[in-house]
Symmetry: D2
Subunit: 109 residues, 4 copies
């Protein structure tokens, strides 16, 4: 979903909603799948599955969480940060600052 | 829990169980907490919470998954890998090889 | 250096230069320090220093590279991405797309 | 190089050398290449190359550093940690503890 498409579909986006609003269902589906993976990890531990196989599943869940975060970040840059730049003033600095801090946190995990 | 403590408590550990067996309850508790965090993320998306606050929660969940994985890896090295070294032969090579590959996967996420 | 400060100092920034242009000397100093750390790693390997101590130094160098990348990314968001949003049209989509891909690569290492 | 091959070639390995000793030349070659990549980054910054292209090169250098660290870690597990397990006593606990801490540092960068 590019900025132009998103803007056309519902411009400007309803106040109080954010960049990810249009992909909400897709995000919720992803998160339910990750929730299922975490329950799967509990079953593996409960059934004394071999450690390395559990670690493989943890990496799959972490990767799924990371791609959810990247998708959310992309929509945040495309909407919240881009809109702040267009509005002018120093709001863009706060937006860039908090986005960079969020990316730094993602890098540390 | 060091190797010597673990070995004393239940030496040798029951066949078919792995290094993490003695911390099973603690691991299951952690995973249930992470499961709760993922449900929390679903509520945040559902309630149109600001993107950056959701990303902060994702980093917290990823970090929790990572420390679960590190704990499991430590127990794997302390038991499965160390036991293979003591048994001698070339089993240790397979154990080190698969542990390194698991660490590489963890690094890529 | 916020967008407003940078814009005031040299607005618009000279064509062909990028967001990091004003911090060039600081970036070059950082990179020379990292280069020195990598030569230090060579000395450690050459002198048969203990593996864990070398791994500790590798993590320090990787962290220094990562904070250089984060700084560059922040300046890119503040200037190149923000300017594209202000100019309008669909250039912002390409900028957000390539920035997200760069962040994804950073996350995988 | 498996444990059995390494042990056969020079068993026990000369006191004061570590798991990576037999691959020293290969490691030094890798580190010199990474050093060259960091100098390349300096040229890119100096010549005002586009931010995203510099970030791509940073990810390549970080990846090279990471695979050097993984290789060193594998040799450490295969030799230093495995030897400590064979020697018995509680030295293995210290070895596993410091290896896990080194992996944790790698994960945080």
């Amino acid at each position: 979903m590019t900025t132009t498409e998103a803007a056309g579909a519902d411009a400007p986006s309803t106040p109080g909603t954010h960049g990810y609003h249009k992909q909400k269902d897709e995000h919720l589906k992803r998160l339910r799948r990750i929730e299922g993976q975490i329950r799967g990890l509990q079953r593996m531990v409960d059934e004394d599955v071999y450690c390395i196989d559990i670690l493989t599943q943890v990496s799959a869940s972490t990767k799924a969480l990371q791609s959810f975060a990247l998708q959310l970040l992309e929509e945040h840059l495309r909407h919240c940060v881009a809109d702040a730049a267009v509005r002018g003033g120093d709001e863009i600095d706060a937006k860039v600052d908090e986005a960079t801090k969020a990316i730094a946190r993602m890098l540390r995990t």
